[in-house]
Symmetry: D2
Subunit: 289 residues, 4 copies
């Protein structure tokens, strides 16, 4: 398969006003670029404008190093935008954090090996020793960082060190059942994706399948979200659901939920890696999602 | 179309123990009956047994008046069951209560006219005058019972009177935005079905679509449940969901939700009318649901 | 509710090339317009570019009569585009055609009365007399055009006359079980939406629920599509599905299918009325769909 | 976790008639057994009765070797039933056959390791050499049986030998792209499950995602079915679907489809292993499915 030609992605957020779309597309045209995909959204409730523009690098009279500076100076600042520039051939470095349950870890590693994730899985980190063999099979370094209540600060520092050492761009909590410390969350804001095994905001907190069973819901779900300091409150990237009946005991819900957790987490990671997500306070815009 | 032969439905709840299935089926056989459908569920968490047995009346050596008594004496009491007996050709008398929004009301009336509901819509009741014409078109008496904060007790009494007068078996709250008084709820326990425009238990209370939008969920849903004195806490009969994106403003959520509300409420009403629902505390068993 | 400010919608199709997005947005800016929504799609397989641009009319230095001409002359012709211009406050005139089954007809009329369809239902047309009363209730003229095998050409001419007389913009086949003649289809190309009661292309032809039951599928579906001279082959606008089990006989499939038919047909009609659909040979692009 | 007490499962098919349910439950009671789950279905179209009864072995006055004989003699033969007896603690021996694409293979092996499949994966068999390492990692013997057009009969014989040698109870085609010979299919009738990457019966034959893309469907799906000599015509066990839009090229459909293939195949294998499937000509009854 021929690799697709590299592109740049402009991600823009600003108060909605006239001329935003034209301003961005004129910039691209002026510098010899070609827009291959563009999507925008003007949120009527908040009056905010979001845009994602993907352009070919070939033909552009700016090199990668110059593009962001030029865009900020010529477009973003005059029009009051906050903007980011990404490149499609950047290879994000991932850390996968897991606890006891291995299904999301296996699933992500399998997808990565199959070429489905445009990323480098740089490290697997766990508070359990169990996943060393699967990490070795997939050729990924494994860090076992056990947790004890008294050692929380030390463990948090160790996590930070590992992420630093491996120059991690994206942290994926693949059913990691420990609370990350605030220092980790702050350092990687909008760069940590968690899979929560409930259809948030229903059943926050512990044992959501038990809660769902007790409440007698007919559908259960899972939620992939960015991690923020407020537990289970971060911006939602993706959700999905599955039907249950009175025949489904808690163990059945857990099993059905596992399938959702794998696919929903993988979708969220793909959206993030494709530079398709803009965080908007407690919400997200997911272009083409 | 030939009407199907009338059947009786036995609905049974009891602590799980040996011989329950055999006890019921022997009773049917002993009296010359033929089981046409049977379903049961033993809930592992609570140790409770639920069963729904549908049998042909033809060939039975008991008439309708004798069946319940015989079943209670010969099976239910010896085995410690609580049991109900229903008949497939009973025509339940429905009251539909609506407020301003008409979509669920129209939908139920259309289904009823199309022969989809095995029931008689005996009365439409509303705190608004708007639906008199559609009720007249479908040939159903219409009661306009306006509400004012000071007249709550009087209105509640009037609702009770209307339900009494029309000998109502099932009350359907078709987007009825008033709280029914406790007297109504108590009198019709497990006989009032409400459609709530959120995926309960998320977004209880007012304006759930606004709450869902603010939280940035990627899926919204609706819930049909029996009404209990605790608001939005009754046993769930049926739920369904639809995907939303950042492009969906509150008005879009309201519109998408309306389609769910119609179908989910109709499904719940059909389950109830088919004698397929057994209430189990805060949960329901919905056989064949 | 304040009516939203009127907008124009540009719908563009052309071979993909550089500068298309910029060309359109510069045109809008040059004439003082403001883009409120824009979406495009470059189909990699066919190399075709599709765009939908929605702009405010206020502030534009062109009036409605001038906009299409100016866009064609300044943008579409130089860039080799085929283009259409629509206005958000155009009120399309609908004809609904129904046969025996009324559920889609009732549903569309109810939605129309509730303000959900930006259209005028100008006429209901049926080969059965049954729906005169419901049409009268909703205040829509009703034409009963009975069909007999020998009178096909005469009936086709009569249908054409009714559509002509009522200046119909969109024909909605709401479970109309007659084949429209080629003359009608040609005259209203991409302006006739049918709801087919199967998940096309599975189960083309007659009695799809019977076919689905015989084949033992676990999911059934329905399809809204534009009508073309080839039966059941037109471009698909929208589909949806519902799960079935061995417990669902043909009558249950018919009933479950009816709920899908109503919602899927209404969604397709809304997409069309919102100027969101571009036909691309046997396929459609549905923006924001 | 304490292993659940072992149960026997009776699977019954016969023409529908009076007394079937009672006959089976009396048999169980007479021998001191306790029914823990029972489900039946009388198919109105074909007049066939299906039943699945699960009973505790403890307390039964028959041992495993006697149960089937006693049931056949006392119930099945007098009532004209065809019947099978299975045991919940039987460990079925699985062969997984894969070609180039590894996602279903990895997924099944991961589920097996996680204890989700009540089976022993006895062998992996492929016409490609690629999966030796993953099979080794999971501790499963790997047979590489390359195919060439001229060597079809030899390869078929080799497959039969491997299945024989490993005493295989269930063959799982995990995206195995070779046609199994008739001898293999006949020898393992209703014991071979295939995952087809289309929503059958749509898009039979080669390259279904290409067909789906060309037809412009808005939903794609996959199908798990028993293999019969007629290609893609076997009884369907499970299906599922996912929504696509015009933005999804063929590669996106392939990727979305892979997620469905994994979960739908796993569900079908679980239904089979739980003795929940009865084949009924071209259809299946899936109890509790």
């Amino acid at each position: 398969m021929i690799a697709p030609a590299p592109t740049a992605v402009l991600l823009v957020t600003c108060p909605d006003r006239r001329g935003l779309v034209a301003g961005v597309s004129q910039f691209v045209l002026r510098h010899g670029g070609n827009i291959v995909d563009a999507d925008q959204h003007a949120d009527a409730e908040s009056g905010t404008f979001f845009q994602r523009v993907e352009l070919e690098l070939e033909g552009l009279d700016l090199d990668r190093g110059q593009l962001e500076g030029a865009f900020l100076a010529e477009v973003a600042e005059p029009l009051g935008m906050s903007a980011e520039v990404r490149f499609s051939d950047e290879v994000a470095r991932l850390a996968i954090l897991a606890s006891k349950e291995p299904h999301c870890l296996y699933d992500l590693l399998s997808r990565w090996r199959a070429g489905e994730l445009a990323a480098e899985v740089a490290v697997v980190l766990s508070n359990h020793p169990d996943h060393a063999d699967v990490s070795a099979f997939f050729g990924v370094p494994y860090h076992h960082l056990p947790t004890t209540p008294e050692a929380r600060p030390a463990q948090e520092a160790a996590v930070l060190d590992v992420l630093e050492e491996h120059r991690i761009d994206l942290v994926v909590l693949a059913r990691y059942m420990q609370v990350l410390g605030d220092a980790v969350v702050e350092r990687h804001r909008s760069r940590i994706i968690n899979i929560h095994h409930s259809f948030l905001p229903a059943f926050v907190g512990a044992r959501p399948y038990h809660q769902a069973h007790a409440r007698g819901v007919k559908i259960i779900g899972v939620t992939a979200h960015y991690v923020t300091p407020e537990l289970d409150q971060g911006p939602i990237i993706e959700q999905d659901v599955v039907r249950v009946t009175h025949r489904d005991g808690i163990a059945d819900m857990v099993r059905k939920g596992r399938d959702l957790e794998k696919t929903v987490l993988a979708r969220a990671v793909r959206h993030h890696l494709g530079h398709r997500v803009i965080v908007d306070g407690r919400r997200t815009v997911v272009f083409g999602g």
